[in-house]
Symmetry: C2
């Protein structure tokens, strides 16, 4: 059963499993104790720290283990911001960071700090010059991911790190998605990562703070992990994390090339196999194992379940698959279609045949979901046989969820003459993203949005 | 090789190991995902939560999993204090709480809050009336451990919980040491615990917040664990924690009785086998598996290493075994001897013979350490053959570490006449505790302390 959600979590790497089992026997004691079990645990912890630091490219005393990548980001950002409190309370992040970064930014804002979100282009990549321009004399910290978790786009971390160094601002790199593939280049100051993304166990994050970086841990601390990560360490998991990081790095170059070819195949063939698909993310600067596309007129949750029934586990940034019923902030920042969104992230060792099988079933599955939604046929616009309606037409999609508003728009666009206007009333967050995206894909003109009595009015002018 | 440091950490319970291995295969995926691996993980998480909640005695939706007991205390205290911010910023704790509680109290103090530390008696137990008297109209939170981690004393949690309820103050119970033995009685509002104390894996804490308790999670949060514990959950460890909690509970009554008998044996026989020993902790209200004693004229670290060489792993609250060179705050609060302190905490399944072996080697090991320290012989005071010195004598122990100041005091007390004074100059934190304790044990009069030009002057009057 092909599992294509490696960017969420991957099964334990065999080396991690082996290390974990050994460390359950050897590393359960408190490494702070003086007795032999404690000393043995201490040795394991020290060795794990050295191995992880080598893979990260820092000194062992610069690296601590945290309970997760999220906690590494939360704690790392809080510590770095507090360490430079006197410089200012301004934070720079990209608009496509992991939610853990954005949640930390919200905490700063709530406490009176300021946050600049650097916009990304349509491929999800920040422009280094734009990022650099956001740095200010009162900027306490800058955060940038090494690669995006939803669309796989790699960020220009080395260039941004140089710009940050020039400006005297520490850069925290969220390397969660990329650390298994290689170290992060450039003069970064802090780095966070998460073991279960590279085949390590859950329960282990990394936080590296380079010497010379001002850092003041926040909240209660204890003597663990140099005062930077309180609580009894999960040593067996830490040992497994470090061992598997070393193992995946040894396989990284070959496996990256292999998966990149499989991802290329998906990127190339999906648009040919499935009508009305937008493949998102940067075509060149991207992770080897992630590809994301969105399917017009498709309910993301229905597509996920349909693929699941066919045996394929994927993820989605569609609004209907999120608890908040809003599309992924990443897709939103990129300004791309969010409906029928599918993220395929291949775990190491993915078989070529599994990808072929996926490409084999995808067209039928999408067609079935579309049929179920009573989606309009593909281009061109269906001209109605009856007389076109007046120059302006209003579609009331209030209370209807993605992709219905877009489907209803597509169904009536042929009812107005070329140059005529369709107004879609919608209270669905996804419409804000998907109606302009539909216009782009269909060559129609997106006029704009305005508040309506209920929801929002989106106006589209028929061009063809 | 007998391991007697269960109160720090215990080897993984066989049930925990089995559950962990199964969950590594079944529960590595993200339980928030819709695909089958995610749904399977979700089922495991839900089942673990139900099992843990049943053992705790709360509803499943009142319980979240945290990365450690320490983080459960840190986050739980921060959330409860913030939830009642409008009531006030006063916190009540006992003086013998775990350092995670005291560190959180320090954070509150630094932010302008107030903390009352309720004193304990010589057995380490708080008086419920004294505790209740510390509650004020502006008390936001009260914290009390179910049992002490260093001396095993059980606290009157049910009575204190009733008093807190009557005062309208939520009580957070730190049940880290006791949860494996049974649920915490009484109307507590919050409860924290740690899986690796009961034979579960490290990396798992529990935080229960009863419905109706005002609670405002602090710091960045996400949608995990009801917004109370951010970050990807360590599901295999959580599953193992819940399974082992159920398993140890099933064995708890029988194993508690068996270990209690072994601990009784240590409590009874150590004072008979080893001269000048003070057994600490409550003789009646205590955990089944913990016993602590202190040995006069003994360097705690030397004793630990000597026992370790004999194959026995124990812990110590002596100053020389701590990174700060201060004796354990628990022993300090109890006002008992801290030098040569040994905590024996028996893991489940400890063999009777191991305890016998320990009792067999202990007298010789203590004697050897004392001989190495050139400690004075046991009572009575060695009368010098030469003429007693003048009525007042000063011992300069500056720069010397525990137990040297007490040994030097013991060596010269016979040099002053009955009624005469000895002043010990010491800059060792432990002297503050150990000189009065020595006076108690030796029937000498502790006059008091005063600041000296360097360090502190401790005055003792010879009585016998």
């Amino acid at each position: 059963m092909p599992y294509f959600d490696a960017a969420s979590a991957t099964p334990l790497h065999p080396v991690a499993r082996q290390a974990l089992l050994a460390a359950l026997d050897e590393g359960w004691a408190d490494p702070a104790r003086l007795h032999r079990e404690g000393r043995r645990a201490r040795l394991l912890l020290d060795a794990a720290r050295e191995a992880a630091a080598e893979a990260v490219g820092c000194r062992p005393d610069e690296l601590v283990f945290t309970p997760s990548g999220t906690r590494a980001l939360h704690d790392g950002m809080a510590g770095a911001l507090a360490g430079r409190r006197r410089v200012g309370r301004h934070l720079v992040v990209s608009a496509v960071e992991h939610s853990a970064v954005l949640h930390s930014a919200d905490v700063l804002k709530a406490a009176g700090g300021e946050v600049t979100e650097v916009a990304v282009g349509r491929t999800g990549r920040v422009d280094p010059g734009t990022y650099a321009a956001a740095l200010r004399p009162d900027t306490a910290l800058a955060v940038l991911q090494s690669a995006n978790h939803e669309v796989g786009t790699e960020q220009p971390v080395a260039e941004v790190a140089e710009a940050c160094r020039a400006a005297g601002v520490p850069l925290l790199v969220d390397a969660a998605q990329s650390l298994g593939w290689g170290p992060v280049e450039g003069p970064w100051s802090l780095l966070a990562a998460s073991a279960h993304k590279w085949g390590g166990p859950s329960g282990v994050g990394l936080l590296a703070v380079r010497k010379g970086t001002r850092y003041a841990p926040q909240g209660p601390v204890d003597e663990r992990e140099g005062g930077r990560a309180p609580g009894f360490p999960d040593l067996p998991a830490v040992v497994a994390a470090a061992a598997s990081l070393r193992a995946v790095r040894a396989e990284a170059a070959a496996e990256a090339a292999r998966l990149r070819a499989l991802v290329d195949r998906i990127r190339d063939r999906v648009p040919a196999l499935v009508p009305d698909v937008e493949v998102t993310g940067d075509p060149a600067h991207r992770l080897p194992h992630v590809v994301t596309f969105s399917c017009l007129y498709v309910d993301g949750e229905a597509l996920l379940h349909a693929l699941d029934r066919e045996g394929f586990s994927v993820s989605s940034g569609s609004s209907c698959t999120s608890s908040t019923l809003t599309p992924s902030h990443v897709l939103k920042a990129m300004g791309v279609l969010s409906e029928g969104n599918v993220r395929v992230s291949l775990p190491r060792g993915t078989a070529e045949q599994d990808v072929e099988d996926f490409l084999g079933v995808l067209p039928r599955v999408v067609a079935e979901v579309r049929a179920h939604m009573e989606a309009p046929a593909a281009e061109p616009v269906e001209e109605r046989t009856e007389e076109p309606e007046a120059g302006e037409l209003v579609v009331d999609s209030l209370g209807k969820r993605c992709p219905i508003p877009v489907i209803e728009l597509a169904k009536v666009i042929g009812n107005v003459p070329v140059g005529g206007l369709v107004t879609v009333l919608s209270d669905d967050e996804a419409a804000r993203l998907d109606i302009p995206a539909w216009c782009d894909m269909r060559g129609q003109e997106y006029v704009g949005e305005a508040p309506a009595e209920r929801g929002t009015a989106y106006r589209v002018r028929r061009r063809a």
